[in-house]
């Protein structure tokens, strides 16, 4: 930024004795940074060291692909929970992504500018409700409400497709997926809204001037330019869905095995940890639950990293177009 005479001037000014205070200022900032970062990194290493007996006993592939979870026999396998996490997240994404993207389009492209921000704030409120309140409402209201629908599906399509078969006890992968979908709609909608709002105005106006409808604007300008930005929003929503804990614990039915149907009770990685941790007194049980936490950590770091990569691509894309 500064070269030649400017750089020289700055060097001369820095030599002033009073500027020593800035040395202290920088030192203090470095101190705080180290005081925060080192314990956090140490926390991760420390957590890994707690789980070493689990890895020694079952091996990483053995633990991750183990089908059986039986604390009283000291048998621990993570696969039922990985399956539950992926299935509930998939159900949540199927419901939430179209709804959230359409809401974002509604707010940025269709609504009159005057009421845009109030509608946006109202949708954002969904993200403010604590997870435990979603769980309570899900358990007492949504699960009983969904049951007739589940029974109808299980009684018709479910007779042919085992994946949709009964029985339908209520708490299930499906119920958990629906609750999580409600929780991630505001996240995906808010991020997509920002992406859509960043589309260059000139191009929109050009399409309108050629006689294009709003649908044409969205199809030819907003979606192509915002594609990777929306993808990043969707991936961040997925990350939230994977990590969602308490609400899922309260509506998934808590069964430590792979349920054949989406209407079967199950467990996700996060919910089995929350549910069993305080009562874990069998050999290796707490360690195995913490090991599940590390599996969850790895999955969510991978998913978040993917979102960051995609978002960087989006930022470049907008730069090119504009």
């Amino acid at each position: 930024m500064t070269t030649g005479p400017q750089a020289h001037a700055i060097r001369v000014l820095r030599r002033r004795p009073g500027l020593n205070q800035d040395g202290w200022f920088r030192l203090a900032l470095r101190g705080v940074a180290i005081l925060v970062v080192v314990p956090i990194l140490w926390m991760m290493v420390d957590t890994f060291s707690v789980t070493v007996p689990v890895w020694e006993r079952f091996g990483i592939p053995g633990f991750v692909t183990g089908l059986r979870w039986a604390p009283s026999f000291t048998i621990y396998g993570a696969l039922p929970f990985i399956y539950g996490t992926l299935l509930t997240s998939a159900i949540a994404m199927l419901i939430a992504v179209p709804v959230a993207v359409l809401i974002a389009l509604l707010i940025t492209e269709i609504l009159p500018p005057r009421i845009r921000s109030s509608v946006a704030v109202t949708v954002d409120l969904l993200a403010a409700i604590p997870s435990v309140v979603y769980g309570l409402w899900g358990l007492l209201v949504l699960v009983p409400f969904l049951r007739p629908f589940e029974q109808a599906v299980a009684g018709t399509v479910g007779k042919v497709v085992p994946f949709l078969a009964g029985p339908t006890p209520g708490p299930s992968y499906f119920a958990a997926g629906v609750v999580v979908s409600i929780m991630i709609v505001p996240i995906i909608a808010a991020l997509s809204r920002e992406v859509f709002a960043a589309t260059p105005r000139l191009q929109r106006e050009a399409v309108r001037a050629l006689g294009g409808t709003r649908w044409d604007v969205i199809r030819t300008v907003v979606l192509p330019i915002g594609r990777s930005g929306v993808l990043a929003a969707v991936i961040l929503g997925l990350a939230r869905a994977i990590g969602e804990t308490i609400a899922v614990t309260m509506v998934i039915g808590n069964a430590p095995k792979i349920g054949a149907s989406i209407f079967s009770p199950g467990f996700t990685l996060a919910s089995v940890i929350a549910n069993e941790f305080n009562e874990a007194n069998q050999e290796l049980h707490p360690e195995a639950l913490i090991a599940l936490g590390l599996v969850l950590l790895v999955i969510s770091v991978l998913v978040n990293g993917l979102a960051i990569l995609v978002r960087q691509r989006f930022a470049r894309g907008v730069g090119r177009v504009a």
Partner: protein
């Protein structure tokens, strides 16, 4: 008019009709999505108000719960106090640290700042239950018992990235001319941050803090591994301590008992009101600070 021109104009009319129909369909779908998404919001509000209001009274807020979840009566004083203590301490830890981290990555840069940035990004993406496990293995295992301090540390780790991101964004927006002005005046860097950059960004930082607090107050999962919760009133942060989300969770799991059910719903109403207050206050501050034409 020749026949072929008629055909072309007919085709144009029909495509424009189909395009208009698609436009219309999009509008209908978009409105339907909004309604679908708002149904849960309305349903939860109605549920909380209609079910929770019965439990609400002065006594509910000022007395402690009976030891037995199935017993009627009592209140949630211990949970309200525990939540305030832990969130308060967490905010006291998180705010200065987060602002220092944001200033650090703006002012110093380089490889260290990049790695700090990376750690903050990782933290922001961590499921809160994983934060709970980390703090469990760092604090609870080391001290040998669950405690309010451990809970506060977990909540601080959850608040930290939210505040860092908000502060960083605002410091980035600081007008370059202001920056150059402070340099031209020969201002010390710490002086420019303390008296110019941070005050300029203050309303945005406060908004970030409010949103972070509103998130931390509602967190349950990390507290299961740290604060644990109990049924007694305590101000001792070195002991297990109750929090409102924990109380809702434990009572909801016993919702077969009408008393536990009502207690969970009453507490949920109080919790949501507190969370909304912080959330809306934060947004209001942000809105007021923006120039009128961008509201």
């Amino acid at each position: 008019m020749s026949l072929s021109a008629l055909a072309v104009s007919a085709r144009l009319r029909s495509t424009s009709r189909s395009r208009r129909a698609k436009d219309r369909a999009l509008e209908v779908c978009a409105w339907a999505s909004l309604i679908v998404a708002l149904i849960p919001l309305v349903a939860i509000s109605l549920f909380l108000v209609s079910q929770g209001i019965r439990s609400l009274s002065l006594e509910f807020l000022t007395s402690d719960p009976p030891g037995d979840l199935s017993a009627t009566g009592g209140g949630i004083r211990n949970a309200v106090v525990g939540t305030l203590l832990m969130t308060g301490l967490a905010t006291l830890i998180a705010v200065p640290t987060a602002i220092a981290l944001a200033v650090f990555s703006r002012e110093i840069g380089g490889r260290v700042a990049t790695s700090v940035r990376f750690v903050v990004d990782v933290l922001a993406g961590l499921p809160s239950i994983v934060v709970g496990i980390f703090v469990y293995s760092l604090v609870v295992v080391a001290t040998g018992h669950f405690s309010g301090f451990a809970g506060a540390i977990a909540l601080a780790v959850i608040e930290l990235p939210v505040i860092v991101v908000a502060t960083d964004e605002l410091l980035r927006l600081t007008d370059r001319r202001i920056d150059e002005g402070t340099r031209a005046l020969g201002m010390l860097r710490w002086r420019s941050f303390l008296s110019v950059f941070i005050p300029t960004a203050l309303s945005g930082i406060i908004t970030g803090i409010m949103l972070a607090v509103s998130r931390a107050i509602g967190e349950t999962a990390p507290l299961i591994f740290t604060a644990l919760g109990n049924n007694f009133f305590t101000l001792d942060m070195n002991e297990p301590i109750q929090a409102m989300p924990l109380l809702i969770y434990r009572n909801a799991l016993n919702s077969a008992f009408p008393a536990a059910r009502d207690r969970a719903m009453g507490t949920a109403l109080v919790l949501v009101l507190i969370v909304l207050a912080f959330n809306l206050l934060g947004r209001w501050i942000a809105r007021r600070a923006r120039p009128a034409d961008q509201r």
